[in-house]
Amino acid sequence: MSASIEVRGLSRTFHTTVRRPGFTGTLRSLVNPERVAKHAVSDITFDVSPGELLALLGPNGAGKSTTIKMLTGILTPTAGEARVAGVVPYLERERNARNIGAVFGQRTQLWWDLPVRESFSILRDIYEVPKAEHASRLKEFDDILDLSSFWDTRVRHLSLGQRVRCDLAAALLHDPPVVFLDEPTIGMDVVVKEQVREFLRHQVEQRGRTVLLTTHDMTEVERLAERVVLINHGRLVLDGSLDEIRRTFGSTWQVRATLADAHTDVVPPPGIAVLRQDGPQVVFGPDGPDAPTVHQALKAVIERYEVTGIAIDEADLEDVMRAAYVQAGAA
């Protein structure tokens, strides 16, 4: 099956004016401005399969939002090409718009002065969704997102959490196969975040939608993403699973075992190193780029030694991503 989102060598360059320091510098910039090219996205290539949820990660200013804007038809790339559900978004904007849903966490697509339900019905008309289909989809969304308790309220009176839940529903009411979410849970409380995550899981697992998500919330990534694309300074740094990220960017786990025999000659399995040993207490950690995951290491230790106690310490994804951003930034 062909990919829902195909990105090939996508680049976007912005041209800005350099501000020279000081008053004289400012005057010189006014008379003789120095223009520089800022490569927001450089030669990015990746695919997203139908029904897959991909997290597009990176520090602030990495190029995540610019990438999403090119895939939603907001921006035209400087070079490269992209297809979303078979459509080139920046060439056929309106056709692409029918295939996608988009939520930008900090801005709403609802009519500010209207009750939410009126916005939903306007969107129904715009996307030409049959009334019965619209009603049944709205009920499905209401069951998970609890919209009906506030959907007669004007958008301007909604809390952030209520507003983003409504925006999510609005983005999916026309049943798009591809959904773009740019920091959808930013600023939400934990209860609403979990509600939104459940909704997204449902949309991917039950409805088979393809989702491209950007977020700085690593709990969200762990709970939702099957695959991660990491970009920094506009370049793709890594495309792989969370396990691959963990393996690539840090000694992120330790297995602490208590051996039955304190005099055992400890020769660790391949890819695992002995970090510390104090009598029967041995601490194992990953060794080299081919190190196993924590669960594989746990299994290997138990199989190789007779142990009376065992525990694992795993650095959370936030630590891993911090390491990844630092390494990617230094690269």
């Binding site: 912005f14 610019t66 309106e94 718009a97 988009a102 009519w111 002065d113 009126e118």
Partner: protein, 266 residues
Amino acid sequence: MHAVRIVWRVTRLNFRAQLEYRSEFLLMVAIGAIWQVSVIVFATVLLTRFTGMGGWDSSEVLLIPATRMLAHGLMVLFLGRMFGIGRDIQEGRIDVYLTRPMPVHRQVQLAYFPTNAIGDLTVAAGLMAGALSRSHLDWTAVRISYLIAAIIGGMLLEAALFTALASASLRFPAAEYWARWLEELLGTFGSYPLNVLPKAVGGFLTYALPLAFVAYFPAAVLTGHGHDTGVPYWLAAASPLLGVLVYLASRLLWRRSLAHYAGVNA
């Protein structure tokens, strides 16, 4: 037909939403009317202190602000939301519009109901009623049709100027400040027969900024001053058509500018 239905539905809902905030609604209507105070003062002074201006009698001159005001009120009502485009760009609303299967220009116009246009149009209708009742012209079907065409042409011409500035704002957000200057200029000079102004100013308001085509030239043609405007008679008479053409050109410019839209990142 589908597009017309959506436009009607959203406009109706937006209007109803404005009505529900009673004080805000009345305040906006009042602001729309008060904003035109300079035109009202001009009309009052013209009728009470002067017998005419630049070879035109007072009732003929009154036709100029009445036509311009009506064109302006209709522009605010139907096509006036381009004025706040800088804010739409800054707040990312253009980004949202670009992800919907509907022309962005139409979505900008449907963002809210311009309640102040009611005030504008009330003043404009009053002025036009005054101008027509004092007019000595024989209002034949041809004259009335030309007046209607002139009002629509004037509306489109003014909308074209703001659309051109909005197109520039898509690439250079600071261009929005020019829209304020333009509105001020249209309000200040739009009520006079331009032959009372120095030639350079009249030329500027004809060829650089085609304010003369909004109301002055059509009023001149209607009142028999069409040969004394400083431009060929056919050009003055073609003002309504020019409004349509300039508006179409501005929409083309808008479309092209939107293709180069870079949001706040650029």
